[in-house]
Amino acid sequence: MVDATPRMERDIPPAEVPELELYHPKSWWTTYVFSQDAKVIAIQYSGTAVAIGLVALVLSWLMRLQLGFPGTFSFITPEAYYQFITMHGMIMVIYLLTALFLGGFGNYLIPLMVGARDMVFPYVNMLSFWVYLLAVLVLVASFFVPGGPTGAGWTLYPPQAILGGTPGGQSWGIILMLVSLILFIIGFTMGGLNYAVTVIQGRTRGMTLMRMPLTVWGIFTATVMALLAFPALFVACVMMLFDRVLGTSFFMPALVEMGEQLSYGGGSPILFQHLFWFFGHPEVYIVALPAFGIVSDLISTHARKNIFGYRMMVWAIVIIGALSFIVWAHHMYVSGMHPWFGFFFATTTLIIAVPTAIKVYNWVLTLWRGDIHLTLPMLFALAFIVTFVNGGLTGLFLGNVVVDVPLSDTMFVVAHFHMVMGVAPIMVIFGAIYHWYPKITGRMLEDWMGKFHFWVTFVGAYAIFFPMHYVGLVGVPRRYPEIGEAAFMTAPVGNLNAFISVAALVVGFAQMVFLFNLVWSLRFGKEAGPNPWRATSLEWQTPITPPPHGNWGDERPVVYRWAYDYSVPGAPEDFIPQNDPWPEKAAARPA
């Protein structure tokens, strides 16, 4: 037996500091609304993220209706189309994926998985959610102001973002967008500090860093990255707001709009792009790393086998996190920045493929000689691997500077990033919800609805985004509401676009089954018991399910081992919980 994580029972220190008193809520309002319990905040974050995510889903239907059947829907003007794509992108990346992984899963899982009673700063944690909600409301408000929301593309590149030729540029749309982002970052920073400090300071006795589940490693690393990356977006938003409202010229050179000389001068549009992508590239991994972590735990639990190469997996997460701060300009190969940057950024970008590939190998090697239970979380984990490998490999096209030149700004890029940071992480989100729903509610999600949801979503999403790469190869630029037939096309893309649109509508409607399942199972789902998956990590060992405020009853658990002791030879069962001192003596399990 290879001793990957030496067991150190004797090194577990006695508690030196008495536990702090938790603030216990005294009324309905402080229990369910202005709650300081990380688990309630997690539900609030998730509910808000899913609600605004549904708006993004509807927007994606509208844009696919236009692309699949151009000219059929007269209300989809080019202005409206650009507003749809902009709001869809921004909502999905920031207000859904970031908020759900960190605010949702981070809040629910970090304290439970590291054996803490709550986040270290519960009050600030509560504020984090309310500021996030405010950011979402400001974003939603932009749909109802004169001129509508901004249509500048989710990248908000100036000068067009704040000029009249772009929807919302000279009305309220762009202003509300920027204010909403600023609020989001303020709210995130409050939550993010909590997640990072809780992992560093709040772990229970025996929970060394190298015993933490990879879920915690993923969320922790992503949080640290977000705390370093979001400030770049913050200053970019503040400066652009000044350019728009006060007439400064941070990003605005001398220019002529529709025949009229504007008073701007001396600013640099490319500076904005550097700031945006200094945030924007780490953002990809802020979404991906929690997904990496969670999927590792799903695969390990449901294949009844330890994650293969745990230490390599931890280091890969950390190295990917660090490298992702020096690859940002691969989004800017054709931006007009100095072309020599291409050598540097192509090299760093392709280097990042190595630790990423190691993670993929270790996931599939975990399946090797496992005892694979094809449960819903496992199915979604498999779908994640397929879509992530596909999307990751097309990243090697776009990262390799010269190959990027013909493909940049085409539908190939859209297909790539949807596969790698849209579909793949969302597969993990679904898998994670099927996995942890029993802990959160005490009931299982209905299996047949889940199977239906899985097959339609996985096969459908692949049918949407795999052919989309070829629309880009043909040469169709992104952000075109209509391309028609052009001489450069080797074959017309109209039928292909219509096929993609139909697939998108079907996949979208399958999500309604999922939402129905969430509500239906709350009441009619099978009773789950405390540990239905027979998992090892601490959240499954709480004395009460769903865990109440404070999580652990009288005494916090003590950790004796890593989170991956599955199928250990000689053990009485095929899993040994982290707080079980076996073989010294068997711990009492919650019934």
């Binding site: 190469g309 072309p339 500077v401 095929d574």
Partner: protein
């Protein structure tokens, strides 16, 4: 069983779609065949990796799916295997990066004999400027843009007087002559994109960006804007005609210089002052 089968079908379906579908890139009309070659190498390497990983996964699902009484193996890690995989991956990555960087160094090195052609983007049309007989483009600035001087050419600069101005019309280029495309914008970001040339580059107000290529095939090619530039973005189209030297020179004869275009303005001013 069904799961493993569908995973295999995903791989087979992807490969068949790649081979059989009619959607592929447009035949090249420039010297950047190397870019296409690098793309093909990347397709081969990534396609092999994708198939290998997913088929391996399908095999695992088939072979090690849960059976009554089965137990998983216990193997936390294998240093040897992990290092092997790391090295093999690094070699594969290098096999894509090396040709990529080699071609990029050609892409960013403009040959001395390349003639300069300026493209000026504005919402939502393409304008062009060619150097006149002196072979030099005159100075320009967005502050100088007026209705009469849409490209903002500096009237004080003698080098600009003989520049050929093509406003909202087609650009013609001679075949087999390398050109350095100088890219400017007078309002927002645009991107000069001709699918057949493979090369593209953003146009940024306040800067002159560039790329170079040699047209290798005669014909007319559509210019598209590839950087979101407002509501008219998808309508911002133009044409580039690549012609033989003779046809090109014949076309060039019919074009107006900046000085020609400035003259009627003076005439108009005289008329106004007349009565």
């Amino acid at each position: 069983m069904a799961v493993a089968l569908i995973l295999v079908l995903v791989v087979l379906g992807s490969i068949l779609f790649h081979i059989l579908s009619p959607w592929w890139w447009t035949p090249i009309a420039s010297n950047w065949g190397y870019i296409d070659d690098t793309l093909i190498i990347t397709f081969w390497i990534t396609g092999a990796v994708f198939s290998a990983v997913i088929l391996f996964m399908a095999y695992c699902v088939f072979r090690f799916r849960h059976k009554e009484g089965a137990k998983a193996a216990y193997q936390p890690e294998s240093k040897r295997l992990e290092w092997w995989l790391t090295v093999v991956t690094a070699v594969g990555v290098a096999a894509m990066l090396a040709p990529g960087l080699y071609v990029w160094s050609q892409f960013v090195t403009v040959p001395d004999e390349a003639t300069e052609v300026e493209v000026v983007g504005q919402q939502w049309q393409w304008n062009f400027r060619l150097p006149g007989e002196d072979g030099k483009l005159g100075k320009s600035h967005n502050r100088l843009v007026t209705f009469e001087n849409p490209l903002g050419i500096d009237p004080e600069d003698p080098a600009g007087q003989d520049d050929i101005v093509i406003e909202a019309a087609d650009l013609h280029l001679p075949i087999d002559k390398p050109v350095k495309m100088l890219l400017r914008s007078i309002d927002v970001l645009h991107d000069f994109y001709v699918p057949e040339f493979r090369a593209k580059m953003d146009m940024v107000p306040g800067m002159v960006t560039y790329f170079w290529f040699t047209p290798t095939r005669t014909g007319t090619f559509e210019v598209l804007c590839a950087e979101l530039c407002g509501t008219g973005h998808s309508y911002m189209r133009g044409m580039v005609a690549v012609e033989t030297e003779e046809d090109y020179l014949a076309w060039l004869e019919g074009q107006s210089t900046f000085a020609d275009l400035s003259a009627p303005q003076k005439l108009g001013a005289a008329e106004e002052a007349g009565p």
